[in-house]
Every structure is written in C-alpha cells, then in structure tokens.
Amino acid sequence: MTVYDLALQQLINGVSLGSMYALLALGFTLVYGILELINFSHFNVFMVGSFVAFYVLEGFGVVGQNTIMTGLPLVGVLLAALAVTMLVTGGIGIGIERFLLRPLRSVKGPAAMILTIGVSYVLFNIIVLGAGADSKNFPNPLPPIAFTFGEVVLRMREILIWIISLVLMGGLTYFVGYTKLGKAMRATAQDPEAARMMGIEVDRVIMMAFFLGSALAGAGGMIFGLYYNYTSFMIGFSAGLRAFTAAVLGGIGNVPGAMLGGMLIGLIEAFSGAFIATAWTDVIIFSLLVLVLVFRPNGLLGRMAPDKS
C-alpha cells in the first residue's frame, strides 16, 4: 500500500469517524449553547443508543455479520432501527432534563454538571447489569459490497454512515436555521431573557435541545456499531470525550462548528492512528483540546454561548 493509498483510506475512515463525532458533538453544543452545561450524561446516552440499535436489529432477526439483507427490507430495517434508537435516546434526554436538571437550573456552581456525571454512571451500570459486560457483535445486514481503488476499500457501510449523518446534519441545520422552534432555540441561546420576553417558552426550547442532542447521539451510537462491528458498555467515555473536544474545537455552542470539529477529530484519529501510533491517539487529541482551550478558547468558528458575566 502506497502512502497515497494509505492516506486515501484514512480519509475514508476519518470522514466516517468524523460523522459519528460530529453527531455526538452536536448534542454537547446544543445543550451548552443554551445552558452553559457540560452534559456528561451525553457520553452514555450515546452508548445506550448503540445498544438500543443492537437490540432493534436483533429483533428484526439480524445477527452478527451473517444476516445479509437487500432492497426494501434492508432500508426498512435500517430506518426502523435508526428511528427507534433516536426516539429512545431522545426520550432519555428529555427525561434527564425534565426530572433531574430542571430542578437544578437556578442552582449556581457545578451541581448540574456533577449530577450529569452521576446520570452517566447510572446509564453505564444499567447496561452492564442488563446487557452484560461483554462486547456485543453488532449486527450488520449490509451486503458485503465494496468498491476498490487500488488497495483502497470503500465499503457499503461507509456510504451508509455518510448518508445517515449527511441527512441528520442537514435536517438539523434546516431545523435550527429555518423553523420557528429552531429560531427560538437560537434566540434563547443568544439571550434567554429577551427570548422569554418575546413569548418564547424557554422550558420547551431547552427540552427540545436535549431531545435533539440525545437523538443525534443515539444515531451516533448506531453508527459506532455499524463502523466497528461491536458495541460495549465502555464505548461512551472515549468517544464522548473526543466529541466534546470536537465541539470545543469548532467553537462550543456553534452548530456548524460542532460538525467541522467532529470531522477534524475523526480525521486526526484516522491519520494519527495510521501514521503515528494508535496508542498515542488519545494523547494527541487531548493535547489538542488543552491547546485549543488555552490559546483559542472560542474555537475555530467562535463560541456561541450566552455571555453571562
């Protein structure tokens, strides 16, 4: 494999990983943009999402890598899995906001953040107890079609991942940019008090942000399974931390920033894995996080959070 082939292959891998990180980063950014809260429960909402997708796919009789589907059944099963996953994780997000975080909204200090760490642990352990601590062979019903360019392989799953994330990110961009509720969401992020005075129901907007962020994290969890062929209760932490880095890198609170940051982190992971060493990937990513926060705390595209003094 030449260096160019290797680079092209890593570009393909990086974009797939990047799509996943971007979906996950969007959840951090939506919530942070409005509440200035680092939502640690998001790490494991993502993980739960991959398990929901796992069970839905198994429910359709797809087991491991051996059940191949084609045509409409394939599309139907994938869409159903995606929809159920996003609804379930979105619901979890709403539950966390409504019942746990809302009572703390007027409490200053780190209480809300500490609470989300606790929620993250609870989700984590529910999966350990319910599904077991072993890694699961993630079902993949895609036909094993691959396009090869020299030694570079582009599999169906990559194309699927790109389609899913493109549609979701496009949908979110449309929602935030052009719908009434989306505009209300942006307005709330920019000036919550003024937004309330316009008659915007801020509580509803916050709930919506949690729902969307968590639903996208669920989709990210399903993509994780499709990409790596496995899932486990452990996947939330490192993926979540990378996605948070992505959100900060792009400018936290900034929706296009989260997408850009996610892509960059995915590419960095793919290329550093191939050209440096996988063992150092996390060190590189976290060092980047520290450098960004210290030297460019507003990220590449600008921080967009309420400026409370």
Binding site: K183, Q190, M198
Partner: protein, 254 residues
C-alpha cells in the same frame, strides 16, 4: 392624582388597560416597589420617570411577568394577570421594547422581527404587520438581511420597536428607549412612539430623559426608591420643580 388628564384622544375612552394595585415587589429581602399604583388608560402614552435605582426596571419586569409581586395585583384589560406566564402576556398583547434594545445579535433583522411575532400565527397577518413595520422604518427594510449585532444603536432601536410591533400589541412597554442614542435620534424615536400611539397602541414608557418623555406623554408617574412620589398630567409635571429633586435623589428623612 390618578384622574385622567382630560386630554381625551379619539381612541382613549378613559378605561384602564393596565393597572397596578398596591404592588409590592422584593428581590430577596430588598423591597423594591412599595405599594405602587399605576393606571394606564387605553390609548394613552404614560411615562414612568425616576432616577437611578428607583424601581423603573422592576416595574417593567413586573408587567412582563419576569418578577412577580409579593402582594398587590396587576390588572390587564380588567383581569388580574399576576399569575400569568410571560408567554401568555405576550400572546394577550403586551409587548416589550427592552432596555438597551437586546436584539438577538447573531440573527438577521428579519429573524428578529419574526421572533417578535413568535406568539402570533404565521399568515397574511404576519405580512401585513411586516409591511407596517417596514413603512414606519424604511431603514429596517433596507437592512432586513443584515446581522443585527452589526447595526448602529439607532438602527437597533428601530428594529427593537419593530420587533415589539410584530406581536400585534395593545400595550407596548418601553424600557429607556432613548438610552445611549444620539440626541438627534432620540427625537426621531419619540416621534415614532407618538405615531405608533396615534395608530392605536397604548404606550407605557420607562424613561430617564424626563424632558423628552413628558413632551409626548399624556400622563406620568415619578418613582423614587420604589415609591410613587409624583403623578399627574404630563403638562403639569413639566412645570413641577419637584421632579428635579426626585431625580437628583434628595430624600426626606422621616
């Protein structure tokens, strides 16, 4: 003191649109509004004057439902609204022009106007309202696609007033509409306020610029450390030297 001025305009029928009845408001244990009564008649321009820290902004927040009175009642259109949410108040026709404009800085002028109409159904009515705002402020129409944070202070004030009009308000509450504007622009803003009022919208205005506010208002209240110390027809208050003292913070020790 609370009698109507006699300056009865065409649409002013002497009935109240908004009333404060013995309202007391607190921040923690800080007593801000003390037994405050206001009467804002339909179709009037009423201004609330007062120096720093007199409770003007708290009055605004109480009207919008951001701060709730501990005792007393706020009556809007004959019904008590102390328990009504801000959202419902806007829906029922109370729209604010916030202190220091408070536009959504990273959204376009058009989006800001849209958000002003958040509680209104989208339809032909929206287009009518938009047209009306553009007519009042041709400048706003020119700038509709500009990011509002990049507008000048005066232009922002036009958008802020336009945004309030988009809510189809019966009552517009303005918090310091002249603050931070150049003297020339202050005059324009006050002209516009009069125009809007003539078109049938009641105006309640918190203002530090007493001379200007009294020149267009029908009636006025003067607030000092949370107590209404003077009230009456604007024309009378213009001649009253006590206002000066109220503004400069002279107080009487019990």
């Amino acid at each position: 003191m609370l009698e109507k001025t006699g300056l009865e305009g065409g649409h002013r029928d002497g009935s109240a649109l908004l009333e404060f009845q013995k309202v007391n408001t607190y921040y923690g244990d800080l007593h801000v509004l003390k037994d405050v009564d206001y009467f804002i008649g339909k179709g009037e321009i009423v201004c609330l004057l007062g120096g720093n820290a007199s409770g003007k902004s708290t009055t605004m927040k109480t009207i919008m439902g951001v701060v709730r009175p501990q005792t007393g009642e706020v009556i809007y259109d004959g019904k008590p609204i102390s328990k009504m949410s801000t959202n419902d108040r806007v829906k029922h026709g109370i729209a604010p022009v916030l202190e220091a404009r408070r536009l959504f800085p990273r959204m376009t002028v058009y989006e800001n106007l849209e958000l002003g109409a958040y509680t209104q159904p989208r339809g032909p009515q929206f287009d009518e309202d938009l047209e009306r705002v553009y007519e009042l402020f041709p400048r706003v129409k020119e700038r509709r696609d500009q990011i509002s944070g990049t507008l000048s202070g005066g232009e922002q004030q036009m958008v802020a007033i336009g945004r309030a009009l988009m809510a189809r308000p019966r009552l517009i509450c303005m918090d310091e509409p002249s603050m931070g504007l150049s003297p020339l622009f202050v005059e324009q803003v006050f002209d516009i306020i009069q125009t809007i009022n003539k078109q049938g919208t009641t105006i309640f205005m918190v203002e530090q610029n007493a001379n200007m506010a009294l020149s267009i208002a029908h009636r006025a209240y003067v607030l000092q450390t949370g107590v209404v110390v003077l009230s009456g027809p604007a024309a009378e208050l213009r001649e009253n030297d006590d206002i000066k003292q109220a503004y400069l913070g002279e107080m009487k020790v019990d």
